[in-house]
Amino acid sequence: MSWVNRALKSPIGAKVMMAVTGIMLTGFLIGHLAGNLLIFAGPEAINSYAEGLRKFPALLWLARGGLLGAFIAHLAFAAQVTLANRAARPEPYAFNNTVQATWASRHMVLTGCVMLAFIVFHLAHFTWRVTDPQISAMGEFDVYQMALRGFRQPPVAMAYLLAMAAIGLHLSHGIASLFQTLGLNHPRYNRGVRFIGPVVGVGIALLFASIPLSIYLGYVN
């Protein structure tokens, strides 16, 4: 399968893989978000959803495996592309300037790293439940209480909001970008595509952020 190897090592091949894994990860985020928003429907809704997820362990582990695979691939190709890109300009400019590149597009590595750190914390916080003894003591499916406990602590809520900002930025460039990378481009739809990135990215981030924010501000209790 040398052609696969060669394609994956090529600049466009690596980007295509990032786009494809990006789509998978974004899909996961949307699903995750939909579940999380059940918190506004009350404790039973979200807790039974959380319990429901575990009813089919095979499916769950398959999904988790796929997600992990996409995640690792996304990171690996990001590393490959970033290293090659850094090597392409050994000597920097004395005067750095940008004409039209967005902040988000120029800081994908930064926002990506923030997200990576956040994911580790988030898993430790709610999945492995090792960061907070109070949460560790709760029942496995009392997601509602875990969230209340977690987001009433200002530093935790802040950390989540910060992470959501990173997600919003990362996705707003990432989503717009994947259309370009996959060559899904036509003059008639380009204007629309240009909006999809920021709208979906920021939308996802805001909806996610609404949860810690409403808990912290006491709208959900």
Binding site: P11, G13, A84, A87, A94, F179
Partner: protein
């Protein structure tokens, strides 16, 4: 006008370079940027200092020789303009200007502001052509070409190969350059027979030359003096994906 210039000086390919500061006096706003440098060079020569070396030839924005980074922007602040067509009226009296060569692994500096862009030639040599020997052509009107396609092919073929896209790209990627040629030839009926080999060969040459990858920031199209759209990069991606899937082993 008076200006303060910070210019990259480097004796040769292997020497270490540095930014050196010069004063430029008696600059007319009607001068082109290169004429301003001519005046500075005339002054340097008169004092026995080596003039600043920079590439230039046609001075009308079409040969693609001139290649200066002015305050961090390839070809300077004016849209759709090469350095030779940039005029000093775009700047304020007393302004400080940083003038640097294109920076990329694929474009090593030869002296001062001159870089070696032969990597671009090698990318074209890898496949940026239609293989038709002289004399083998049929009548020019034998194959009609849809006007929209011809116009779009023209928009891409307007590329002057100056390398501003590489210089402006955070990743020193040559994707806009490659996409312009791939785009032009894939839009025309004459370019169809070699369509798939072309994109694969040109892309692998681009990679070999040490250019980076596109991260869709579109700085390239913002500085392109011929306003070549990054839509051609999307087209290039599409061409590459379909060529890879359809004929994975067609490569030189």
């Amino acid at each position: 006008m008076k200006l303060k210039l910070h210019v990259w000086r480097q004796k040769n390919k292997s020497a270490k370079g540095a930014m050196v500061t010069y004063d430029a006096d008696n600059i007319s706003p009607n001068m082109s940027f290169l004429e301003m440098l001519d005046v500075v060079n005339e002054g340097l020569s008169n004092t026995g200092e080596a003039p600043i070396a920079f590439d230039h030839d046609c001075r009308e924005g079409i040969c693609g020789s001139c290649s200066l980074m002015v305050n961090g922007v390839a070809h300077g602040p004016q849209d759709a303009t090469t350095t030779c067509q940039l005029h000093m009226r775009s700047f304020q009296d007393g302004e400080e200007l940083y003038i640097e060569p294109w920076r990329a692994k694929g474009f090593p500096v030869l002296r001062d502001l001159i870089v070696d862009r032969s990597a671009f030639d090698r990318i074209i040599q890898a496949g940026g052509f239609i293989s038709v020997n002289t004399g083998a052509a049929q009548d020019a009107n034998a194959i009609p070409v849809r006007k929209l396609d011809a116009d779009e092919a023209f928009n891409a073929s307007a590329c002057i190969g100056c390398g501003a896209c590489v210089a402006a790209c955070k990743n020193a990627s040559a994707m806009l350059f490659v996409s312009a040629k791939v785009g032009q030839l894939s839009l025309l009926p004459q370019g169809q027979p070699e369509r798939q080999e072309r994109v694969l060969n040109m892309m692998s040459q681009m990679q070999e030359e040490g250019f980076g990858n596109c991260t869709n920031q579109y700085e390239c199209e913002a500085v392109c003096p011929k306003q070549i759209s990054s839509d051609y990069i999307a087209r290039l991606n599409r061409e590459f994906i379909s060529a890879t899937l359809a004929h994975p082993n067609t490569r030189k």
